[in-house]
């Protein structure tokens, strides 16, 4: 038995060892497609990485809230999470090691090129990785010991996050360098810059921002999914209440970060266009346009399911029945917006349909496929979600204390926050007002298209002021309603529809319209929320939230949210990486292997689904292992 084993192993090595001396550009993974191999390992590493970076953000925030409110349960939650972190940290590192091996063995040429530019950064990376390990274990194991010295403990948590961000930033620089190499001499196509030139390539910061927000979202959803599983298997009422609440917190953090994500994406997309308009077109109007639609389904689903969860949550708030009537309208708006968000410019058509419509575009539906429509509805969906959240917040509030009796602090902070929103709106309005068409490569007469947007922003600032005035007159709710209504009219209807005019007449200005819409939406959220906080402070409640009184469906929604976010992440990664087409390093180092082609969406979907499933399985095992230790302690 033993002998035959040795003979077998010998056979294996002699087969795979053959040709080991040759210097090659590419190898296969035991005969399997090297690209898919690297893809799967990298995706898994990234999913774990997102978890390991997203969760500490979540944990420290929750721990800090615990200190602020003095509530024990926050602390328990944060610690719970850090425990999961230490279990998955080792897996992340192991996958990272595997990825390095895979890259160096399967793509030696690429790695020679990359290490030629980045070799110093590899050591810096390793150094910070050690740092991360120490700080993580310190943060976790000193939890009880530093119970009374929270300042130190939270600082350690913040340090953990900082180191995590540096690690992510360094590896982002490698990935973005491959998309948008900088420091290349255009004559010789050789790298002549410094390490910093290479790191600070055009897509580096946009991707950093996008991934930081993405990780926060992901951390929230993982928390939600974990809580859902614990809720569904909980034995006691107390546990159910705790995990119900945890699911709520996770979903809350995810949604808040999610609201900003489309704009980080917009920024990243714009920089892709600036780096290479051809790459931009491949992304939005070309080879990846259908993949983008799939991704849009993911994002829209996250928003709708997030609302769904909030509405179900209203069932556990005494008094929230009063607001049930709004739900169907919000849902209607969300669904309508989602439908528009999904409708592509180029619908799939049979030739019979093409003949009937006289072309490849549906004469009316085609407008839904254009950028102005997308910008309008994403703002509408975000505002709708915000509205759900406001309803949720006021669910059990009965008698409020008038704003005028809220004290000086309330007035001060209201003025500060709304003032910030007011100022940033005016600042951008003024910028648009004085914008020189030359800056956008437009002829001078196109300046006429700028003023409407500027007026809309002035209107926005005006209504922020109106809302604040009403608040000071103890009519905060009316102020909120006026501002909210104006924002919807402004961002969705006026600027949304005007976007079509601009697109036809002065298309580069559409980007500024999008920024104006986004700023208006954001200023509304900031102002309305600030007012909301102070007009409902110290209000009387119709009863405490009945944590744990949630249907099982809601928990499955949390699980679905997690899975959708996982898949969306995979699809976005496929797009980002696939945009390089047949280049390892775009425009510099060509992929000459048999796997240089762009895979089909179907193939990508299968690989991503496989990764997601593997991730979930590995995560389950890791959580289960970390649980084993806990149970022993209880005994």
């Amino acid at each position: 038995m033993f002998l035959s084993g040795i003979v077998f192993l010998g056979g294996v090595f002699s087969v795979f060892g053959a040709g080991a001396q040759e210097i090659v550009d590419y190898r296969t993974f035991f005969g399997f497609d090297p690209r898919t191999t690297v893809w799967i390992i990298a995706e898994l590493h990234l999913m774990f990485g997102a978890f390991v970076l997203g969760v500490p953000m979540f944990a420290v925030t929750v721990e800090y809230v615990g200190v602020l409110t003095g509530e024990e349960r926050y602390d328990r939650l944060a610690k719970d999470f850090t425990r999961l972190l230490s279990a998955s940290f080792a897996l992340t590192a192991a996958l990272g090691g595997l990825l390095t091996f895979a890259l160096f063995t399967l793509y030696p040429k690429v790695m020679t090129f990359m290490s030629g530019i980045f070799h110093e950064s590899f050591y810096i990376y390793a150094f910070f990785f050690f740092g991360e390990t120490f700080v993580l274990y310190f943060y976790y194991y000193s939890w009880d010991r530093l119970k009374n010295r929270k300042g130190i403990h939270i600082s350690a948590g913040i340090l953990l996050n900082l180191i995590g961000l540096i690690i992510m930033g360094i590896s982002n620089s490698w990935a973005t360098y491959m998309m948008s190499p900088s420091g290349i001499d255009p004559e010789t196509m050789k790298f002549t810059g410094t390490l910093m030139d290479a790191i600070w390539n055009p897509l580096w910061n946009p991707l950093n921002l996008h991934r930081i927000l993405g990780n926060a979202v992901f951390g929230g959803y993982v928390a939600g999914a974990y809580a859902a599983v614990k809720f569904l298997t909980a034995q006691t009422e107390e546990d159910r209440a705790h995990y119900d609440w945890m699911g709520y917190v996770g979903n809350f953090i995810a949604i808040v970060s999610l609201l900003f994500l489309p704009f980080a994406g917009y920024y990243l997309g714009r920089e892709v266009y600036s780096f290479s308009p051809v790459m931009g077109n491949n992304m939005m109007g070309g080879a990846f346009s259908w993949t983008f639609i799939i991704q849009a389904i993911g994002i829209g689903s996250l928003l709708i399911l997030g609302n769904f969860y909030l509405w179900m949550g209203m069932g556990r708030i005494p008094g929230a029945e009063r607001y049930q009537g709004f739900i169907k309208f919000i849902l209607f708006i969300l669904t309508l917006s989602f439908a528009i968000w999904l409708t592509p410019h180029n619908l799939p058509l049979s030739s019979g349909e093409q003949l009937r419509m006289g072309g490849q575009y549906h004469p009316t539906l085609k407008f839904f496929g254009l950028m102005p429509a997308k910008n309008a509805v994403i703002n509408f969906m975000i505002l709708g979600t915000f509205f759900s959240f406001l309803l949720y917040r006021r669910g059990n509030i009965s008698k409020t204390i008038p704003f005028s009796q809220q004290g000086g602090g309330a007035k001060f902070w209201t003025l500060i926050f709304t003032g910030l929103a007011f100022a940033s709106i005016l600042w951008y309005g003024e910028y648009l007002w004085n914008l020189d068409p030359k800056e956008l490569d437009l002829p001078p007469e196109k300046v006429e298209f700028f003023s409407l947007a500027a007026w809309c922003l002035i209107g926005q600032a005006f209504f922020i002021a109106v809302a604040v005035a009403f608040t000071f007159k103890d009519q905060g709710k009316i102020g909120q309603a006026i501002l909210f209504t104006y924002t919807v009219i402004n961002t969705v209807f006026i600027l949304g529809i005007y976007g079509f005019v601009v697109m036809a007449e002065a298309s580069p200005f559409l980007r500024n319209i999008a920024v104006a819409q986004w700023l208006s939406m954001l200023s509304c959220i900031i102002a309305v929320l600030t007012i909301d906080i102070f007009i409902f402070r110290k209000a009387e409640h119709m009863g405490a939230i009945r944590w744990g009184k949630m249907s099982a469906v809601s928990q499955y929604v949390l699980l679905t949210l997690f899975i959708v976010s996982l898949l969306t992440m995979g699809i976005m990664g496929f797009i980002r990486s696939g945009l390089r087409e047949n280049w390892h390093v775009y425009g510099v180092l060509e992929d000459t292997s048999d796997w240089a082609f762009t895979p089909t969406n179907l193939y990508a979907a299968k690989v991503i689904a496989f990764c997601a499933l593997t991730f979930i399985l590995m995560m389950t095992v890791a959580f289960w292992l970390s649980e084993l230790g806990e149970k022993k302690k209880v005994k």
């Binding site: 308009p277 077109n281 070309g286 999904l342």
Partner: protein, 291 residues
């Protein structure tokens, strides 16, 4: 009416009333088309699914609504004694599996329909074209000087010959450059009229006299989604290699766009692009400045 039937009615009203009756007519009216314009099947199935999901979310998002919705169903499924109700029960319970079976058959039975194609608007251009610049947008100093010299000669001729129109001579390099580019643009527009107008139309709006002959319509250059969103070298690639040069993912078999690098010189193709963008009243996409 109870909640259950309200939901059913709502679904029917939107799915059939709105999408089958109202929407095709409104679209027809809006664009003044001779035919009704229903939403294509792909869009319809997407909207239907979305609507069903939204309805499910609405019902499931509150315990009361779940109960309201389920009660009539439970009532209906209870053992019945009255003959009429019993009959009804049997009919409905038999209809559900029959409907399922029929739908399955309907979906899978062979039919004569043209396949639904997914079109990629702007497929990937071969890397060799990326970074090309239209040399005619920025003539060299020598070209401009040569042009000014030519104009001078012409002006002298015109001064002697009464039948010739007067010729203006640009008085500096800058004016000369502008005059030269507009001369090339005019020549490009003339080449466009000869070669491209039959399909793309004199207004560059995609409705030339030959356009009706093609199922995949010639591009409408006034539509902001065509040549205005692409960089000029991309349009150059399309003009040079035409439909047959498209990658297989973009249905090269049904594009009538000819290959022009066989008939027109490189210079002529760049010139045509000057004319084409001018006629359409748009410019090529510019690389944004990095901030």
């Amino acid at each position: 009416m109870n909640f259950f039937w309200k939901i059913v009615l709502f679904f029917v009203a939107i799915r059939y009333g709105f999408f089958e009756v109202v929407f095709p007519r409104v679209s027809q009216w809006a664009v003044n088309s001779p035919d009704l314009l229903p939403a294509p099947a792909a869009a319809m199935s997407m909207y239907t699914w979305l609507m069903m999901v939204a309805i499910a979310i609405y019902i499931l998002s509150s315990e009361e609504r779940i109960a309201d919705f389920m009660t009539p169903i439970h009532q209906f499924l209870k053992p019945q004694t009255a003959a009429a109700k019993k009959g009804m029960q049997i009919v409905v319970l038999a209809a559900i599996p029959l409907f399922g079976g029929w739908s399955y058959f309907d979906v899978n039975s062979p039919k004569m329909v043209s396949p639904t194609a997914v079109r990629i608007q702007h497929p990937t251009m071969p890397g060799s074209f990326e970074g090309m610049k239209n040399p005619l947008r920025d003539p060299t100093e020598e070209q401009v000087e040569e042009f000014i010299a030519e104009q001078k000669e012409l002006a002298e001729e015109a001064a002697e010959d009464e039948e010739m129109e007067p010729v203006t001579v640009p008085n500096n390099i800058e004016d000369g450059r502008i005059a030269l580019v507009s001369k090339w643009t005019e020549e490009g527009a003339a080449l466009y009229a000869v070669n491209c107008r039959p399909c793309h139309g004199m207004q560059a709006d995609g409705v030339g006299p030959m356009a009706v002959g093609w199922r995949l319509q010639p591009a409408n250059f006034r539509d902001p989604g065509t040549i205005a969103t692409i960089v000029e070298e991309y349009a150059f690639w399309r003009v040079s290699k035409g439909g047959p040069g498209l990658p297989s993912a973009s249905t090269p078999w049904d594009s009538a766009m000819p290959i022009w690098d066989l008939d027109l010189s490189e210079n002529e193709r760049w010139k045509i692009l000057l004319g084409e963008y001018f006629l359409a009243g748009v410019g090529p996409r510019q690389t944004e400045k990095l901030e």
